[in-house]
């Protein structure tokens, strides 16, 4: 299931829902991405570069389409009982939750692999853009080349 929302989410509640789907679920892997208060390598930045807030923009329609494709791809690679992807949009502050990927399976290897796979592809395929506000102004976050490398690693 894919959810794009401005509201926060509760991982405990989502876990309760997903684990009650089926008595065969033995493993649930959950990944949560959080807003940090800095963006680059930590020691290169002064107080002015501390992030006070962040705004997440997306491409409605394409986001859901790309995430559904990633979910489907994960389900074809691993035996998964359920998959949940929640991504927040709008204004967020340091420590806020941005994204949740939750994968449920009979086996822990499948749950771990699938969650990581989904995060790697979400980072390179899902049309979200972050703009950070700092003491010295606002700027669009630049993509990391390591993210492109991570999703390439899954190609068969």
């Amino acid at each position: 299931m894919i959810r794009i929302q401005t509201d926060d989410f509760d991982v405990g509640q989502e876990l309760k829902k997903i684990s009650s789907v089926d008595n065969s679920i033995g493993a649930v892997c959950s990944f949560v991405g959080l807003v940090r208060d800095f963006s680059g390598p930590r020691d290169n930045e002064g107080e002015d570069d501390k992030i006070s807030s962040m705004t997440l923009e997306h491409y409605p329609g394409m986001t859901e389409k790309q995430l559904a494709k990633i979910e489907e791809d994960a389900r074809s690679r691993w035996e998964l009982s359920d998959v949940l992807i929640i991504h927040r949009i709008g204004r967020l502050e340091p420590k806020d939750q941005i994204v949740l990927v939750m994968t449920a399976s009979m086996h822990r290897d499948a749950a771990f692999d699938a969650a990581r796979f989904i995060m790697d592809f979400l980072k390179t395929e899902a049309p979200f853009w972050k703009k950070e506000e700092t003491g010295s102004g606002s700027k669009w976050v630049e993509a990391k080349s390591s993210d492109a490398g991570n999703s390439k690693g899954w190609e068969k």
């Binding site: 997440l56 923009e57 491409y59 389409k65 790309q66 994204v99 395929e125 979200f128 853009w129 630049e142």
Partner: protein, 83 residues
């Protein structure tokens, strides 16, 4: 055709979305980018370095030599940074 701009491409062009007819003689994404850049002003800035621009046609990531037709939805945006 519907053309969309996101993140700093939206800020530079000053618009999020527009409806245009596929211009005469333009057959692919690269041609459309050149056409938009030639409008000058914010569009020239937005497309000044096309290596920074990513494209989706009908909500799928595509390369710049992808052919276009008038019913397509084309979106321009920077590399994604979600998650």
């Amino acid at each position: 055709m519907k053309v969309l701009y996101f993140a700093w491409l939206k800020e530079k062009t000053g618009i999020g979305e527009e409806d245009i007819s596929l211009p005469q003689g333009i057959t692919n994404v690269e041609g459309l980018m050149e056409f938009l850049k030639n409008r000058g002003g914010g569009f020239e800035k937005a497309f000044s370095d096309i290596s920074m621009v990513r494209v989706a046609v009908n909500m799928e990531h595509v390369k710049i030599l992808t052919p276009l037709k008038d019913s397509d939805e084309v979106a321009f945006f920077p590399p994604v940074t979600g998650g």
